[in-house]
């Protein structure tokens, strides 16, 4: 079976996940060992993917693709899961969430995302999506004794199941009207205007928009982000977003390429609504996790703006955006994990008051990350937005560009409000000092990346320009 060699990452991931599950069941207090093995596994798979020769191949009746694009997104997913596991270890142990299932569920979600980003077929895509979603439902409610966490899990499950239903309905419509579940086949058959496919496309779009939390399908985000344990929130805010955006790009540029004029304005609307709602609603937040939820809604708006441009530059800029977004969010959550006082983790922004006196380095890092999230040059976040607007203006969507840039000003307000709390307000009690080189290292990597990005801002473009979707 020659095609198996293309599946090594997925096969390895699924087999070792079940092995880990067995280890977890038969060894007592096995969180530590399962956690370490998962990190090693992630690194191993990363290594395998990086060293394998990339051939553009389609296997299983053209339903599974291995190309530069899926490889790149898998690397992003692995890297971000790796860092999330690294920085959230302490938090998981401190909040007594150190159940051995935790890393295993994360690995299963990652497997689901792998299938999603590689899928070239509606059925396979749906299976991958559901695998990752099931993992996420459990993760959201992993803190079983905490009523908020359970609520978050339940809320996410019900709403997400509804979205999955819509998505599945859309898929079946697509199949019915185009006669195939294969992306290329659908693309060939949607060339001629067909109301059924457009209906299907809208339903699929709704489902995907829910998964990436784009307005108006964002309602679950703030509650789930706030209710779930911070380690899970960190995972939510980064990894599923990558997979979701990648799949969104795939859908828009493969099966629905021919009906660009049909979906373009839906995406423009979602983009504008997400950007504005993300920045306006975040202004009044006092909980930093809730704020990060709205912030991620806003950022997804910018990412979608790139897709909405409908050009090659457009989706490339979206991939650049999401890559830089990962670096910023990882750093931000690294700093949130440092907010601990008396063994308890703190989520109120007010508690950061005057932290620049007591924790100068942490405050400086958060300052860099926040200015970058706000998109102020010369930090990486600026270039992310710059590429997006390059693509948007290339497509002559001036309204989208102007609204987008004005909403960066609005969003700058709530980012610099945190800077204000840290730097301008008088100091409160300091946080606990803890020596956790993993967190410090991750924050340092994030900040160095954000600050030095301007030295070589085309680094991602060069990687991504190799990526050809078709």
């Amino acid at each position: 079976m020659p095609f198996l060699k293309f599946l090594i990452p997925e096969l390895l991931l699924s087999i070792s996940t079940f092995a880990l599950l067995l280890i977890g069941v038969f060894i007592k207090n096995s969180f530590e060992i399962v956690y370490r093995l998962s990190i090693i596994l992630i690194m191993l798979i990363l290594l395998i993917i990086l060293t394998s020769d990339i051939e553009n191949t389609k296997i299983f009746n053209d339903s599974f693709t291995i190309d530069n694009f899926s490889i790149y997104s898998k690397i992003l997913i692995l890297l971000s899961s790796f860092f999330i596991l690294l920085i959230s270890k302490q938090y998981i142990s401190d909040t007594k969430n150190n159940k051995f299932e935790y890393p295993i569920i994360i690995l299963l979600s990652v497997l689901g995302m792998f299938i999603m980003v590689s899928s070239n077929d509606l059925i396979l895509f749906y299976l991958g999506l559901e695998l990752q979603s099931l993992g996420l439902y459990v993760l959201a409610s992993i803190d079983r004794d905490n009523i908020k966490s359970s609520e978050a899990g339940l809320k996410y499950f019900i709403l997400s199941a509804l979205a999955s239903g819509l998505l599945l309905y859309g898929c079946s419509l697509l199949y019915g009207f185009s006669g195939s579940t294969n992306f290329e086949e659908i693309s060939r058959n949607t060339g001629n205007f067909n109301i059924g496919t457009i209906f299907g496309m809208v339903f699929v779009l709704v489902g995907l928009a829910f998964k990436v939390s784009a307005v108006p399908f964002h309602m679950w985000t703030p509650d789930v982000y706030q209710g779930a344990p911070t380690s899970v929130t960190a995972f939510f805010s980064v990894v599923p977003k990558v997979a979701g955006i990648v799949v969104l790009i795939k859908f828009m540029y493969l099966p629905f390429r021919g009906i660009l004029d049909q979906w373009q304005y839906i995406l423009v609307f979602m983009s504008i609504a997400s950007m504005i709602l993300g920045s306006v609603a975040a202004m009044a937040q006092t909980n930093i996790k809730r704020l990060m939820a709205y912030s991620s809604i806003g950022h997804i708006g910018y990412a979608i703006a790139g897709i909405a441009a409908g050009t090659e530059n457009g989706f490339q800029s979206t991939i650049v955006y999401i890559s830089i977004y990962i670096a910023m969010n990882l750093g931000a959550f690294g700093c949130i994990f440092l907010m601990r006082r008396g063994g308890k983790y703190i989520e109120e922004i007010e508690e950061l008051s005057g932290s620049s006196k007591n924790h100068p380095l942490m405050s400086l890092s958060l300052l860099i990350i926040l200015f970058s999230l706000a998109g102020i040059p010369p930090l990486a976040g600026f270039f992310a937005k710059f590429y997006i607007f390059m693509a948007v203006i290339e497509s002559e969507m001036y309204t989208l560009a102007i609204i987008g840039l004005v909403s960066t000003v609005l969003s700058a307000f709530y980012y610099i409000r945190i800077v204000k709390v840290m730097y301008f307000d008088s100091p409160k009690k300091p946080f606990e000092k803890f020596k956790n080189l993993k967190i410090y290292g991750s924050i340092l990597i994030s900040c160095v990346f954000l600050v030095s990005f301007f030295l070589y801002p085309s680094i991602f473009n060069q990687i991504i320009s190799n990526i050809v979707v078709n």
Binding site: S356, F371, I376, P377, P378, F382, F386, F389, M390, I393, E394, Y398, A401, I402, L405, V406, T408, V409, A412, F413, I416, V419, K420, Y423, F424, F454, P457, S458, N461, Q462
Partner: protein, 498 residues
């Protein structure tokens, strides 16, 4: 490739800041080490800037010391280069920064190390603005300056610092994002963001108007022009003395420079079309803010409003498009950089001693601190444009240029000169002369060595350039002539240079 002298002059302060960040762990408020490092860096930078002036060729309008490397492959080049206009602003920046650092010794009471880092980083960004010949690189530096300035106002500012810092940040950011849209639009219409290439390619006239407005929105906020000037008084009042000095002396000039280099250079037709708008706003700025300045009871606020009025002359001069007007406005910017810096330093001297900026809490200072009163008088007279000070030459040239273009505007603006005399002299009278009512004042000491050094240096410069404007005018002459002839060529007029 030659030695990248422009990049050195730009990034040297950043290296100094990094050095302080890494080596000076002393949280002590009297962190001498940090002061010495930053002084050394900034004086060395001033030295390089002066060397730049020395080796600068006055007889060509081409960009000199050009550095060019690919930055974003396929899109944007990192391009630096200077002409006669930008070199003066680089020198001004390099000259004002050490003065700010010296004034920190007296004015900054907490977190000295962080302040010096912010100041040096800011210097890098400011010099970068004047060096860059690529729109994206320019935008990068132009916007990046917001971060350190926001922190300077917010951390070391007065009681309403949060409000002022936010207002400063959001106003300027909002103005600038439209410029980013315009820059990207220029890229897609001309295929480049290299300024020198755009000068040659020329942007189609029908595109120019909207693009001009987008750039205008950014520069008008930054300059600031009436009616978007309201952030400036707040920012000035709350900022610490060195912050106000940088803000008034250099940050405002970035917008004036931007008008010259980008608005006039790239959009000549639109510039001509919008000249009445600029004249109207400038005249309102000159008259209205002068009247507002008359009524202020806070010294810093008064000087802030006077800055708006003085910058009104600058925009008026630029948009006359004749040699006198443009040379005058550049001269006015340089001289305002010196004078406003000196005035804010003078207010800072008083504020450090009594913790009050209110005019009514002073009076009769001449009896206690005569040296200070003398220096303050020089700057006050320079601010109102007395002949023999640098302030006179700038305003005079601008008015001469304006008279040639629009008689009415010039007449009304001249009234502004009288109003300037009124508010400055009244301020001086109330603060320095009169009876000594406030007993607290009797104890205060005259200026110390570092304050004296700053103020005397500045006063010598103000007087020198008041009597002998040649060095500046000679440097800018060819570049200004080139700018005007390009402009006239583009708007299809006969070239008349006299």
């Amino acid at each position: 490739m030659n030695f990248p002298i422009l990049s050195s002059v730009t990034f040297l302060p950043l290296i100094g800041a990094l050095f302080i960040f890494l080596t000076q762990n002393d949280a002590d408020e009297k962190n001498r080490g940090a002061i010495y490092v930053s002084l050394f860096t900034s004086f060395f930078n001033l030295f390089i800037a002066l060397f730049l002036w020395y080796s600068f060729d006055n007889n060509t309008s081409d960009f000199q010391f050009v550095e060019e490397i690919t930055w974003i492959s396929g899109l944007i080049k990192y391009k630096f280069g200077i002409d006669g206009i930008s070199i003066l602003f680089i020198i001004l920046t390099a000259f004002i920064t050490p003065i700010c650092i010296i004034s920190c010794i007296n004015s900054v009471k907490t977190r000295l190390k962080e302040f010096l880092i912010a100041l040096l980083v800011l210097e890098t960004f400011m010099i970068g603005v004047f060096c860059s010949l690529d729109l994206v690189v320019f935008y990068l530096f132009f916007e990046a300056g917001l971060i350190p300035m926001f922190l300077i106002i917010g951390i070391w500012g007065g009681p309403r610092k949060v409000y002022s810092a936010f207002k400063f940040f959001l106003f300027t950011l909002l103005g600038s994002v439209l410029m980013l849209v315009a820059i990207i639009a220029i890229y897609w219409t001309t295929g480049t963001t290299d300024v020198t290439q755009i000068y040659e390619i020329k942007i189609p006239e029908e595109h120019q108007y909207l693009l001009w407005l987008a750039f205008f929105s950014s520069f008008a906020v930054k300059l600031p022009m009436w009616p978007v000037h309201t952030w400036l008084p707040d920012a000035h009042v709350e900022a610490p003395t060195p912050g106000s000095v940088v803000l008034a002396a250099i940050l405002l000039k970035m917008a004036g420079y931007g008008f010259l280099r980008f608005s006039v250079g790239m959009f000549p037709n639109a510039s001509e079309y919008f000249t009445p708008l600029i004249f109207a706003l400038s005249v309102i700025a000159v008259i209205y803010t002068s009247l507002v300045a008359l009524m202020q009871d806070d010294m810093k606020k008064l000087i802030a409003y006077s800055s708006v009025a003085h910058m009104g002359f600058v925009t008026m001069g630029i948009f006359t498009f004749n040699t006198q007007g443009i040379e005058g406005s550049i001269y006015q910017m340089i001289s305002h950089g010196l004078i406003s810096a000196a005035l804010f330093l003078s207010v800072g001297v008083l504020y450090d001693r009594t913790n009050s900026r209110l005019i009514k809490s002073y009076g009769g200072l001449v009896h206690i601190i005569p040296k200070y009163s003398l220096l303050f008088m020089i700057f006050a007279l320079a601010a109102l444009g007395l002949p023999g000070t640098s302030g006179f030459i700038g305003e005079f040239l601008v008015l001469v240029g304006t008279f040639k273009v629009n008689f009415l505007v010039a007449i009304v603006a001249s009234i502004g000169v009288i109003l300037a005399a009124a508010y400055i002299l009244w301020l001086y009278k109330r603060v320095v002369f009169g009876k000594l009512d406030n007993i607290q004042l009797k104890k205060i000491k005259d200026i110390n060595f570092s304050e004296g050094f700053n103020l005397i240096t500045l006063s010598l410069m103000v007087l020198f350039f008041g009597f002998y404007p040649e060095p500046i005018l000679e440097t800018i002459k060819v570049s200004v002539d080139n700018l005007i002839s390009n402009y006239n060529f583009d708007v299809g007029r006969k070239i008349t240079l006299k």
